[in-house]
């Protein structure tokens, strides 16, 4: 047994230097060349940082494209999902309440036009995206409040839609923060 403790400790020390010090430092060094310098890419409006491009934030006001419900209210230092099971009766009541709220804020929309992502919480609680359908269903409301034509808004959504990877893989997405920044820029 004793013959194994000394090499165990010495191996541990030398590997700690390689794996826990050298390896992350090299990556941090290379990351300085990446967008955001490895600190996370930010979005700025008039020189002021309004958020991180990848980290979703809460948009609940009617004049903005609303982001998805979040189990942690978009707390970006405490990510989390709802972890509600599909059959949980309380959970289904919450979803029903979200549907009702959405219908009140968006008169003229039929239930069947609401994509499920708008009434369900994301896994991270920080989902930065919506599908194009989930933004379009909000266009009528925003057009009315802001006095912008629906054509202009739909065009904006198109502009900010990111298609599937090389046109083949994955869903189309719209980054809600960037879309809303662009929305504010329309006068």
């Amino acid at each position: 047994m004793k013959n194994y403790i000394s090499p165990g400790i010495r191996l541990t020390l030398v590997l700690l230097v390689i794996l826990s010090i050298v390896y992350p430092l090299v990556i941090a060094g290379v990351a300085r060349l990446a967008p955001g310098q490895g600190k996370g890419e930010t979005v700025t409006v008039n020189g002021k940082v309004v958020g991180y491009a990848l980290v979703g934030q809460k948009f609940a006001e009617d004049r903005y494209f609303n982001s998805r419900p979040s189990a942690v209210e978009y707390k970006a230092d405490g990510s989390g999902g709802s972890n509600k099971g599909p059959s949980n009766p309380d959970y289904l009541k919450t979803v029903q309440a979200r549907i009702d709220t959405f219908l009140v804020h968006n008169p003229g929309i039929n239930k069947i036009d609401i994509p499920t992502e708008l009434v369900t919480a994301s896994g991270s609680g920080l989902d930065p995206d919506l599908s194009p359908a989930a933004t379009r269903v909000q266009v009528a409301r925003i057009a009315k409040i802001r006095g912008i034509s629906t054509e202009r808004l739909n065009q904006l959504v198109d502009e900010y839609t990111r298609g599937p990877l090389i046109g083949l893989f994955g869903p189309s997405t719209v980054n809600v923060l960037k879309l809303n920044v662009a929305l504010d820029a329309i006068k």
Binding site: S6, G8, L11, T12, L15, L16, S20, I21, Y23, P24, I27, A28, A34, G36, K39, G40, G51, Y52, V55, G56, A60, Y64, R68, A76, D77, S79, G80, G81, S82, N83, K84, G85, P86, S87, N88, P89, L92, V95, K111, D113, I114, P115, T116, L118, V119, T120, A121, S122, G123, S124, G125, L126, D127, P128, D129, A134, F169, G170, P171, T173
Partner: protein, 557 residues
């Protein structure tokens, strides 16, 4: 995506085989590590000595990381001012990462410091994956046609697994992540005022390197609380593909490497076929049920154009999330890109089954060790059925080997169901026990789904998987210690068992294969093994599944 993985895995397997051939030379980095470590790389050891070396160094890591976690609050590299861990949580966390499981009863943003993320977690991720790879190599020699007392040198296998395989691969993955937006700097939280005027703090840190090894080494523990569902941990569909490929790559490549090392490619293709068949059996129902959406939500009248979205991210969608949930449970990674607690009931069943078999590809190196004991049982049963001597690669499988294999197989049932029973007993009898989370507050969901949360936690601990039905209130005395013990047994018994069997077999006389030998590289024998896996799993776990996710499935119809 899957095809790409296999295409990469074959040449990688060849490369790995070359790295571990006895005549393969050591580079300057390895020679430096051996010198500092005081290791003689030419020394050959018996299986018992190798196991002692393996267990001793693991004990060193456990003591070291436990201490680090207990003291992290007062140590440097803690820009967010996070507290030290309680002893029960530190016990659970240190074990969990040492055994390559990565069950997490804390959230990375608030539960760890950059020092422990790198010096504790990242370090353990590398060395536990390398331990798994080295364990597999310890059984290789019993497959070769000569009688041997020594099975190689654990330290050499271990060091080379890090320097030649894990470190280079992780580096590549980390760079891909960094250029897609994953943070890698040492800055702490950033405070931002959002467009609506809310103030939020955004957690960051040197995460990219850790996220890379978390997948390459099939570890699975997240930098952030929600793991690869977090937009900084898995920024887009492309990184999602990369992380997915990264976690399946080594388990499949190790299988091919084994084939090259023992020169039995046909045998590895049969094993590969069985494992792939197993994966498809779990994958297809999951994809169908997730894309179909939640029937209870459908009744509320909204549309589910792509499928169920609770606990899922828009940038991945239900299809890629469902695929990931199966891959991560059969491979013993346990990282998640959607919340399994919110998966459809049928998907939950499949995720549980993936961990219960734990041999469809399985973890880095240890996946084949799990398959190996099914193999021993299959050889024995088919030998009896056709009246031939049960043999594996020219060596007789006798009572002692079968006993070890059966004990390993039965142990997992015992740990999972025993643990679940104990938890349920506390839940019912002592709902107000004075733990950090009272038993009555453990469950996040009522009824059958609540039972599934308990079952999932113990299954995940035993399989060293690490994913969870995270609604479970698991950071307290009971869960930290109970799963900690299951973790250690669920890791080392399935390593010790197969290594012991292989060590015993290697000492037996080699009988050349003849017409009297049961051929084990045929499709028939592959199906036989599959049947053995199916029957053992069904007998062991069907009743528990029936009480949990299956009951929920039928109630949702």
């Amino acid at each position: 995506m899957y095809g790409l993985t296999v295409l990469l895995a074959i040449p990688l397997g060849k490369y790995i085989a070359n790295v571990f051939k006895p005549e393969s030379a050591n580079g300057p980095l390895e020679r430096f590590i051996y010198r500092v470590g005081g290791i003689d790389p030419t020394r050959e050891m018996s299986w018992k000595k190798n196991l002692t070396a393996l267990l001793t160094i693991n004990a060193v890591w456990l003591a070291f990381s436990f201490t680090l976690l207990l003291l992290q609050g007062g140590l440097p590299l803690n820009p967010d001012g996070n507290p030290s861990m309680t002893p029960d949580l530190a016990f659970n966390t240190a074990i969990s990462f040492m055994v390559n499981c990565d069950l997490q009863h804390y959230s990375g943003e608030s539960g760890l410091t950059y020092l422990t993320q790198l010096g504790g977690i990242t370090f353990l991720m590398f060395v536990s994956a390398a331990t798994g790879i080295a364990s597999l190599l310890l059984i290789v020699r019993s497959f070769l046609p000569k009688v041997v007392d020594t099975v190689g040198n654990f330290y050499v296998f271990f060091v080379k697994a890090i320097t030649r395989i894990l470190l280079p691969l992780s580096f590549v993955v980390a760079l891909i992540l960094v250029f897609n937006g994953t943070p890698a700097s040492f800055d702490g939280k950033d405070s931002v005022v959002t467009m609506q005027g809310d103030t939020v703090n955004v957690s960051r840190g040197p995460a990219a390197g850790m996220i890379a090894i978390k997948h390459i080494g099939t570890n699975g523990g997240g930098w952030f609380g929600v793991n690869s569902a977090h937009p900084l941990e898995n920024p887009n569909y492309f990184t999602n593909m990369v992380e997915m490929v990264a976690q399946v790559l080594l388990p499949i490549a190790m299988l091919f490497a084994l084939g090259f090392l023992i020169n039995r490619r046909r045998f590895t293709w049969v094993v590969y076929g069985v494992m792939t068949l197993g994966m498809l059996c779990l994958l297809i129902p999951t994809l169908v049920t997730e894309v179909h959406g939640n029937p209870a939500i459908a009744q509320l009248g909204v549309s589910q154009p792509t499928g169920a979205m609770e606990g899922k991210e828009v940038r991945f969608g239900p299809l890629a999330s469902a695929y990931w949930s199966i891959v991560t449970t059969i491979i013993s990674t346990g990282s998640v890109n959607s919340m399994h607690d919110s998966s459809m009931a049928l998907s939950g069943t499949m995720e549980l089954l993936g961990m219960m078999t734990n041999a469809f590809y399985g973890g880095c190196g240890v996946g084949f060790l799990n398959y190996y004991y099914y193999l021993i049982i299959a050889v024995f049963i088919s030998g009896l059925m056709v009246g031939r001597t049960p043999e594996l690669f020219g060596r007789k499988v006798e009572a002692r080997e079968i006993k070890i294999a059966s004990i390993v197989a039965l142990l997992s049932t015992f740990l999972v169901k025993g643990g679940t029973a104990l938890a349920v007993w506390f839940f019912v009898k002592y709902p107000d026990a004075a733990w950090a989370v009272k038993p009555s507050a453990w469950l996040n969901n009522p009824g059958n789904h609540g039972f599934s949360e308990i079952l999932y936690e113990f299954t995940s601990a035993n399989a060293n998987n690490g994913s969870g039905f995270e609604g479970l209130g698991d950071n307290n005395f009971f869960w930290n210690y109970a799963t900690g013990i299951v973790l250690i047994l669920g890791r080392f018994i399935p390593i010790i068992g197969p290594v012991a069997i292989a060590g015993l077999l290697a000492q037996k006389k080699y009988v050349p294969e003849s017409s009297g030998t049961l051929p084990i590289d045929t499709g028939t024998f592959g199906l036989m093994t599959f049947a053995v896996i199916l029957i053992i799993t069904a007998l062991s776990f069907f009743p528990a599944l029936a009480l949990g996710p299956l009951a929920e499935y039928f109630s949702l119809k």
